[in-house]
Subunit: 741 residues, 2 copies
């Protein structure tokens, strides 16, 4: 009995010891600091749905109404004070902090009391067929006194008289055709070019290079109205003849007076004459006016591909036919430049464990007029995403990494606000930013998602698009339940039937400086019109008719498409900010490099071979990159997620990969564009060039007199591509594998 | 009783529970991973003394004997095969791994069977006073058949006949004096310049710019022999008249055929004519030969400051006096360029917790001849440091961060091996390297330590110097027990009586690319001769007499001075690799910026004021930087050392600070030198310029015809300095304080 008691007692004691030990082991891990307990937890799934549900169409609707109520051009009190102030106050309230970044930059305006116009000056000195000085008001609420008259920013002032020549879209090929094939001398003549295909600044640059004295830009129905019977605004979304597209002619990014450096007080400001601005006057008109001049043009008929959809016979000129053969076109431009303060507003959510890693979301605030689409549809979405995140913060969520919201100023003039900010903060942003997620326009149509990105972000885009409900009930009924499904159905990539198409990153919005100056992965998304539309952009682009009325009545009733874009945006930001391993995909980059190499080989291979230049080195470098990416990718599955330094190490490799494609010497001597794989096409900065250095070196090379020198440049560009890809591959290898080029 | 038993039993159970719990809590922290347990431990102190004790003079002695046994010029089998192979094998055995990096680069050699020389060509066609074609053998073992004849690399071949002109040191001031003050036309004449004061390549460049047809470089006793009665080698270390200084004339760094990019197989190689090489022949001679030509010079007597210590009346020329007035100087040069493979050898110790952070130690391997001092004294030290670390590894030590040893090729030709390597690996090195610690020459004398560094490394240098025993018994007897004590006594800084002087980083050794292309903190140390010596460098510099005999017999008997340098080097590497918080000092940088600003204000202020240019912006930026550095510095004391992400965050800020001073656009349009605070002086790349952009913009500005344009450049440079300092300050602020410029 005593023995039993003893055994029982001993058993009790041992059990108690073991239990005590177990309790400490499993229940009281107090030596494990907070950050370590959470380190391996994927909180992303918990909050993803919550954020999604919190983002609501009706809020975006009222945001858009507010932001597009009045014109809010860069430098205007409405944009720099009212709207910027509203955003600042909202973020100050909802997020951890907010801050304004002010720069003094060169802007450009038409003279309100002496408007620009085009007319025909007859021999007797009388002017006829004067173009409209302002856009006709078509709907209530479009007659705000601050609507700016149509103009192209940074045009010099001047009155030009000359013979009119039709130059089609005004791209290099068009001018070559006129000058080489037709031997048409453009010197001193006035070019009329239709909008579309390429960036308008490049049209002006080409006209200038070919000796023109002035440029008229107009919107042809062929590019902005679908088909002959299409109804136009306000009955439908197609472009009416009274609409005029405004827009900048600046071909560089940022304040033209402070290239490469921020326009802060201590900056060195160039004189305007040294700033690379256009030297010939330019102004835009609508097609109701354009037809008056085009219909009177003499000369040969244009080639079939040059014909627009006006009900006339398109002729080249130069000059008018009888009875106007002695009349001249007159271009009257009183646009002027002025230095003004602009204001970026930045809102900040501090990351819990890695506050020094930033996920940056941005959209510009300034519009040419009301900005119903460009940019306030994006602003409306951004404000809703930030509000929803603010709400989650109050519920106890805090992202692992920091999230930064940016409202950019003066994008329309040449990406000025975002460029100055990146120039100012490049050292911080370059070493800490995971990605920059841009939404310029939340929608340009309601057919399908449209995206532009560097390959590292493809997977992030796909995954987010799969999580977001399809905003189109008809598509859902057809079995396409997610945004991804419609995107894939409408716009599959040409290389993979299960991946939708994603554009390469050109210029044209605020992602540019992040990618090109700082080597940060970037993307831009919007809901867009389908590829089947034969139009150059959404029709009302940069006109006074781009309003809340247009969007809410004709493009997104109920704002479900806006909501889908906002949800994607929020989901992508949350994924990048919260997941333990960064959702950046080096394997997609590897595939993209091999694909680009194969495509360039296909298009340029024969030409290169004729000069004994091989792309074998590029192929071999891309294969090495693929091998390094595969190894790193495989490693990700074996990372000890509880070891923060191990996690940080591979995350840094993933984050810095994009930096490896940056060459500080720029591509083809262009120091503002430093990305060796993707940079804006030098002949059309809207478009993305692959291997831009090579593509620029090859441009029109057959017609150059300095053949030897040009081909040496081509060889040099090939060597830079090989080196850069090998260098990028080396960053993916283990830290102890230094080099391996 | 039963109650008591029950209580006792209960007590036993509870006690057992508590003990069990305690055991788990304190004795079995198995959930705390290894790295976290060690994370807050400063292991540095434990291993510092062990490393110090392991580094032994006798090993350095035998290393030097081995490395300087035969001539080992860049590109020679002895350097690229025998010595490189030895280092590779040694590191492969002692360290974690080793690797060769091979580049094909442009080198230059004299024609062995047709040596260069100088002579006097008389009117009758006879040549007299021919210079020695090789250096006389003064000691046993100096007659190796692979000793290269005296030459200056990259000189073009050519035979020049002309009138000789003495140009003193050949710096810009000297040429200005001749051309402006004396109106002496140098066109087509042959310059004879004495070595010293500035880099020889700048002398050649100046002669070329002023129209000379050739250059003779010679060593004047004034610059390489102390006093009239001084005994020369082999009796003492002073320069004998038969010694000739070899050396490169390349003013850029790296392979001249591949600027900015590595000379790998796929590289684009410039043609030699485009590589910026000297265009006029140049060759060096000793003073036994120089006196033959200088003593015959006619023309005016030189100004007193131009006189050397040869026993003649120094005259300027041009041309010789009677009876040689019709004779010409003849310069016969058969130097040629050839592309050859060179080999860097890299040894690697993998860091335990942060393998992706590198502490890099380097020294070049190639010598002009035996390299007794330059560079094999440094090589001997490096091999001993790496051996000692290898021994520690076997004892169980492993540094927190990685340590990398580098044996550079072809430094003497223009920092070629190190520059190509940094060009190749810039993306990896730039994002991961803590610091680069260079030792080119372990000693040039035995009076005091001499150091060059960026301010971030001042504290590291001071602390290490305090820990290393004074190698000089007389100094120890005088109470100066450490290397630091003698250093401070011999060479105090001009601004702080308790801090020894440290030079700013110029060029002239392998740290250059690390600092200027990658923004990595750098330093270089050696034991040096005292400031009291009136000499330009250690006398035997680049001559065939720079041998083991010279070092072991006349400069460091017992190798204790070598040992002291090796110990400092090892201690600094260990500190950077092992301490939890990086030993980089942003406060010292802050003080340096304020000091430089004050000094530049003092020297340039009046000139700037005359054009209404103020340095107030620079002062205010430096004050802001100081405030940010003070705040960060204070924060370091409060870091939770157990939180690796918190530690990494501030460490990254400290590490990346130097990057913030890098402008990818270069300083004053020089793209190889991108550091805005310190860069090589453009008129003497050996020297460091403070605010190099400004200093270059101001150089000789008063005499420039384009005053307005020049002063606009000055304003621009001031604006860049202000911006850069503000940008650097912003990187020191908290991660959530984005910007603050």
């Amino acid at each position: 009995m005593a023995l039993i008691k003893c055994i029982a007692a001993a058993f009790a004691v041992v059990t108690a010891f073991v239990i005590g030990a177990m309790v400490m082991k499993f229940a009281v891990p107090i030596d494990l600091p907070d950050w370590l307990q959470h380190m391996a937890q994927e909180r992303h799934n918990t909050y993803s749905q919550e954020l999604m549900d919190e983002i609501k169409a009706e809020n975006i609707d009222s945001n858009l109404k507010f932001f597009s109520e009045k014109p809010h051009m860069a430098g205007s009190p409405q944009d720099e004070e009212v709207l910027a102030g509203h955003i600042y106050n909202t973020w100050k309230m909802n997020l951890d902090s907010a801050r304004n970044y002010i720069y003094t930059v060169l802007l450009s305006y038409p003279n309100a009391s002496d408007p620009n116009y085009v007319s025909i000056l007859q021999e007797d000195g009388t002017e006829v067929e004067e173009s409209a000085k302002r856009e006709k008001v078509l709907r209530m609420g479009q007659n705000d006194p601050t609507v700016v008259n149509p103009f192209n920013s940074y045009s010099p002032a001047g009155v030009v008289l000359g013979e009119l020549v039709y130059v089609n879209y005004g791209d290099v090929g068009d001018f070559h055709y006129l000058a080489r094939n037709l031997s048409l001398d453009l010197t001193g003549r006035v070019a009329i070019a239709r909008y579309g295909r390429i960036f308008r600044g490049d049209k002006v640059k080409n006209a200038q290079d070919w000796g023109c004295a002035g440029v008229i830009l107009y919107s042809d129905p062929a590019d902005y109205v679908a088909g002959a019977g299409a109804r136009v605004y306000p009955d439908d979304w197609w472009l009416p003849g009274t609409a005029v597209q405004r827009g900048t002619t600046l071909r560089s990014s940022g304040d033209p007076l402070t290239p490469f450096y921020p326009s802060i007080d201590s900056a060195f400001f160039l004189e305007e004459k040294d700033a690379g601005l256009p030297t010939i006057p330019v102004t835009p008109i609508g097609y109701d006016d354009a037809v008056k001049y085009l219909s009177k043009l003499g000369g040969e008929e244009v080639p079939p591909a040059w014909r627009g959809h006006l009900n006339i016979t398109y002729r080249l000129g130069p000059g008018f036919k009888v009875p106007f053969e002695k009349s001249k076109i007159k271009l009257y431009v009183q646009t002027y430049n002025v230095r003004k303060e602009i204001k970026n507003v930045i809102g900040y959510i501090r990351g819990q464990y890695e506050p020094d890693r930033y996920v940056v979301l941005g959209n510009h605030r300034d519009a040419w007029v009301y900005g119903g689409i460009d940019p306030s549809s994006g602003t409306a979405a951004m404000m809703e995403v930030s509000r929803a995140m603010g709400k989650l913060l109050k519920k106890g969520w805090r992202p692992r990494r920091s999230i930064i919201f940016c409202s950019w100023a003066a994008e329309e003039y040449g990406l000025i606000g975002s460029t100055e900010w990146v120039e100012e903060l490049n050292k911080i942003l370059g070493s800490r930013t995971i990605a920059y997620l841009n939404v310029d326009l939340a929608l340009t149509g309601n057919d399908s998602l449209s995206a532009m990105a560097t390959p590292a972000l493809y997977t992030l885009l796909y995954e987010a698009a799969k999580r977001v409900e399809n905003p189109n009930p008809a598509e859902v009924a057809a079995g396409r339940k997610s945004v991804f499904d419609t995107w894939l159905a409408q716009n599959p990539s040409h290389y993979n039937q299960s991946a939708p198409h994603i554009d390469g990153p050109g210029s044209g919005s605020d992602h540019t400086a992040f990618l090109q100056l700082a080597g940060i992965p970037v993307l831009d998304v919007s809901y867009a019109f389908g590829k089947a539309y034969p139009i150059s952009s959404y029709p009302m682009y940069h006109s006074a008719y781009e309003t809340y009325d247009l969007v809410s009545r004709l493009m997104d009733r109920g704002f479900k498409f806006h909501q889908a874009v906002a949800r994607m945006w929020g989901e992508m930001a949350l994924t990048l900010a919260d997941r333990v391993l960064l959702r950046l995909d080096c394997l997609e980059y590897a595939s993209a490099l091999q694909r680009i190499t194969a495509e360039v080989e296909k298009t340029e291979g024969p030409l290169l071979q004729s000069w004994n230049i091989s792309l074998d080195g590029v192929k071999s470098a891309a294969a090495d990159f693929h091998e390094a990416a595969t190894t790193l990718h495989a490693k990700l599955g074996k990372i000890n997620l509880k070891n923060p330094l191990e996690v940080r190490r591979v995350n840094d490799q993933l984050m810095q990969l994009e930096r490896a494609f940056i060459d500080p010497l720029g591509t083809a001597r262009d120091l503002m564009h430093r990305h060796i794989i993707y940079a804006p096409n030098q002949k059309n900065i809207y478009a993305s060039s692959r291997f831009p250095g090579l593509s620029n070196a090859l441009f029109d090379i057959e017609n150059d007199e300095q053949q030897m020198w040009r081909w040496e440049q081509v060889k040099k560009e090939v060597s830079i591509i090989v080196f850069t890809i090998r260098s990028a591959a080396s960053t993916l290898r283990d830290a102890s594998d230094i080099g391996g080029l």
